[in-house]
Each structure stands twice: as structure tokens, then as C-alpha cells.
Symmetry: C2
Subunit: 333 residues, 2 copies
Amino acid sequence: MKKITIADVAKQAEVSKSTVSQYLNKRYDYMGEKTKKRIQKAIEELGYQPNFVARSLKQKSTKTIGVIVANILHNFTTEVTRAIEDACHGADFHTIICNADDDPVKEKHYIEMLRAKQVDGLIIFPTGDNRDLYQQMLDASYPVVFLDRKVEEMPVTAVMLDNERAAELAVDHFAEKGYERVSLMTTSIFNHVTPRMERIEGYRSALRKNGLAVEEEYIVSADQDEMQEALEKLLQTEQPPEAILAGNDLVLIEVLKYVKHKGLRVPEDLAIIGIDDVSFASFYTPSITTVAQPTFKMGRMGAELLLDKIDKKDKQMSPFYRFEPKLMVRDSV
Amino acid sequence: MKKITIADVAKQAEVSKSTVSQYLNKRYDYMGEKTKKRIQKAIEELGYQPNFVARSLKQKSTKTIGVIVANILHNFTTEVTRAIEDACHGADFHTIICNADDDPVKEKHYIEMLRAKQVDGLIIFPTGDNRDLYQQMLDASYPVVFLDRKVEEMPVTAVMLDNERAAELAVDHFAEKGYERVSLMTTSIFNHVTPRMERIEGYRSALRKNGLAVEEEYIVSADQDEMQEALEKLLQTEQPPEAILAGNDLVLIEVLKYVKHKGLRVPEDLAIIGIDDVSFASFYTPSITTVAQPTFKMGRMGAELLLDKIDKKDKQMSPFYRFEPKLMVRDSV
DNA sequence: CTGAAAGCGCTTACAG
DNA sequence: CTGAAAGCGCTTACAG
């Protein structure tokens, strides 16, 4: 079955391709009623579907954006991504999601591939290790928005959580409940990922603010597959912490696994707060106190900022947008 | 900054566009070494990036597939989608994911939009209500694979769970543990969604096989927002069930919320099995017995089947692929 | 009010 | 071994 093109429609309707094109683009300004009807009829009879690729080539817009996430396994990422898709859908844009898997090489490959595919802009959860590429996009004024993380010295619009505040909310809550020995666990900080560094910073200053000592051994970063070991080590010391702040959802899961495995009681033996309001927090037993990120708002904001840039409604935007975390008080502390 | 095109490279390297194109496509057959070098040099100097859209127009292949899921909120969907993306990535294909939100109108819109964008094929979790469109794609031999669900009388390759077996595994396990009054809860069956219908069927026959009575009141289907009410009604009868089979992850969550709210003990007051091996099943308290779907395998198979079709390696494939569910025995029954 | 023509950035059969 | 030319399916400035 041969593809129907605009030429076929034109022939069938006995008008020129130009006129059909005008019709398709709803530039009816001076178009005769009968012409419209004829074209409409021809389109229906032939079952014509415009070829978006051809249009994209000419118009230099694919109505598609790319989203490169650092790691799709985070619940946060999934939710933000969903919000981005929703917002884009509203603007008739498609999204191509790519998972860099925390690997700068993959990230580079995706950036290049997506740009070759002429996506109109990119939302990136940057690994941070492709500064030259980021810079190149900046220089070319190619529309980019960073999400969740920023890259030092790169004036790229970034949508982020107020991470220090997130850690502070948790530490304050622990302090309020009388806990003094509070640990912070995060996944690897090898790449100096913004949220992790900032959460550690916020944790430190919040402890000080509450007159609590900062024990360096209580700050632990480990890869997910080493987390059980790290927990064992952390909790088998002379003076183990009474409370743990899990730096993200994956850490929280590891903590809960450990707790279950060891038969610890929460919060009696160990109090827990997790950053990221995971789905099961509310109906877990005990229900888990969390610090929620406004994932939906953040995703939408990221998408809107990018779409504005694409639309040149840019007008010198402030580079960083910070979002307020929210403490969800439940029973685990 | 003007876009660099193949013409610029050709000029810089003092060869023709054709030759550059050959080079890009690695058709080196008769290309002189110095020519290659010159082109390579020009590409680097200019920072040339091929325009994939132009190539797509000519080659009639976008190296992109579309995935239209019925409802992205299911954990199953997220996992399958991830597997599809992985498999496609391996074949240098991109994926555009669209969420039809169980709405046939949205589904139609997405199918048309993606085809206009000339995606090379489509994986669809069909709502089932766009038979004409499905048929049209079949007639045009456009590459399509259904996932999770099939559509009656549509000979479209479909990748599905052995749903009857999934229900049977659960019922057998309940029976083995001595439970006699077993309920099955599913989300709405308004559209006769394949897995739900088949699970109900499997549940019925497994009860019979185990010599247990089929109580029609124990088979309940409700939308998510009516689930609590439905549970209340189900469990406040004269002879309430002692066990519930949650038809999917969303139902399971509603059941757990109810249980927590009412302070029921699991499995003493109510035994539970969920179809879909949710992330928290293993570290929930009590840990939840589930029937796992091989989401990764199913997604990969769907992608491979589609890529084969696109590649015309089709050769009359069997229309349905069934995957074996697996019982994950834990503490909730 | 409508059409002929050029062009978007590639690829490819063909000529030499 | 390499190049000129046509063409993929559209859009758009311009002419009439």
C-alpha cells in the first residue's frame, strides 16, 4: 500500500499542493469555501495522514523534547518524568525519555543522538561529567533545562529541591522528638551530585542549630549493593545512632530491609525518616515519616521553562528555581 | 550560529556531498584513504552533526518506535516499558512512551500522532476500543505488537501473561494453606480488559478444581476510588472471605490501606496474595506473597517481536505469546 | 483567492 | 574512486 502524500490530495481535489498545505495549517484567510470542502473531501477519501517528518525538516521543529534522566530507578525521577510528559502533552509536544544510568558516557551518547534527531530542547538530570557538551549547548543557545541537579559554574536554568531545607526538616523533627544521635545515609557521592551534597550540608547545619554534635561516622555514603554492610557497620558500634535519615528512596528501602532482617522495632530501636515520599509510606507498618518533594510541580516547571525557551519567551530567566520540601509526619519517628 | 550541513563539510573537504554521505554511512568500499581523512578532518573542524530528520525523510525510517500504554500507574507497565526501552536502545532505536490513561480517545490521538511522526512501529497496551484503527494498521501491514492485552478477533501479535495460571497459583496456595473462602478483587472490568477477565476465569476454575465453592459476591470489581467502600461491604457480610486475591498492584495497595486502617492482622484476620510483585512486598510487615509477572522478559519479547517485524524478519509469527507467572511465597498467607 | 518554484538536509542510483 | 542530479514530503515567499 503506497503512502498517500500531499500531492495525491492535491490531484484528487484539483488544487495545488500549496493550497492543500495552507488548508492543513489552517491558513484559511482567503480560501474559498468550496476549495476547503474539496480538500477536506479528498483527505477523507484518501485517508491522508500528513508526514510530520517532512514538515519537521522544513520547519526545523520536531515538536519533541528529550529528557535524559540520571537514574530512572528513583521514584522521584519517575514522577517528575510523568509530570514533564503531562505538561508537554498539553503543549502538543512529545517526549523521548532516556536513562543515562548515572553514566556520563551514556549521557553523552543520548545528548548527541537526541540532538541529531533534532529534538527542540532537552531536560537533563545531569551526571555532571559532560561539561564541554553542556557548554557547547549553552554557546549555541540550544534550549536546555537541568532538573534535580545543577553543574558548578554552569549558568543553565535548573529546577531543584531546597535540599538543605529538606534535611533540616528531618533533623528538626528528630530533635523535637528527643533524638540526639542521628545518622544520614546517602547513595554514592562520588560525582558530587548536587542533592546529596546539599542534603549533607543541610544535615550538618541543622544538627548544629539544634545543639547536637556532628559525628562524622554517622554520615555514610555507599552504593546500593554495599548498603547492608554499611548499615551493619554503622549500627554495631559502641554508640550507634538512634535515628537514620535516609537520603533518598533507594536508601530508605535498604534501611527497611535491614530493619526487617534484624527484627528491629521502629521507632523504638531505630527511628527513620526518608527523603522522597514513597508510595508505601502511608500504609507501611509503621507508617513512614518522609520529606516529600513536590515532584509534580517540579516536573511541570521544568517542562514549562523549557517550552518557554523553545518558544523564545525566554527573557533572561533566573537560573535556579528552588522548591520547598514538606515533612509528612507519620509513625516511624 | 548557523547549522552545519553536509554541504559545508563537502566544501571544506573539497569533495561532493555524495562522498560525505557515503563516508557517514560507512560505505568505504572504494573510498580513498586521503578522502576519508579529509572528510574526517572537516567534520571535526566544523563540529558537524548529521541531521537525522533529513535522513529519516529519505530513508523512511525514524529508528523510533512508539509505546502506548493503557495506564502508566501500574507498576507492571513501568517495568515492561523499561525493558522495552532497554531492548530498543540495544538496537539503536528510541522509544516514545504515551499514556492513554485507559481512554480510547487519547489512545486514538496518540496512534495518529505517532504515525504522523513516522515511528517505525507501535507497541500498544490496547484499550480495546479502537478496533477500526487497529484493523487499519493491520491492513497496511504496519508493525504493531500488543502487550498485556489482546483484542478479540484481532490477529495482532500479543505478549501476555498466562493470566489464568496466575490466578490458579494464588488460589492453589490459599487452598493448600487451608483457606476456603477466597475473594478476588480487580479494578474495573468495564472494557473487558483481557487480564482481568482471564484472572477471574482462572480464579473460578481453580476454586472448582480445589473443591471450593464459587461465591459470586466474592468476585468484586471496582474503580480505585470505590475500593475502600467495596472492601467494607465485602468484609462486613455474614460470611466474609478469609482471604483476598488482589488482582493487581493498585488493588493490593487499597487492600493494605484498608487492613491498616481497620487494624486487621495479616494473615490471621485476612490472608492476602497480590498479582504483581510490587517493590515493597519483600520488606513489608508481614512480607506479601505475590504472583510475579516476568515483566522484563515480556517487555524484551515485545520489543524484539516489533523490531523483527520492522526488519521484515517477521515470517508469520504465532499471534500470542504467553508468559509463566511465578508464586513468590512470603508471610501474608 | 491559488499556483509554480525553491528549498529544508539528507541518500542513492547512475554515469564516468 | 567520485560527483551531478533527482527525490523524500512537506512549507513558504512571491507572483499573478
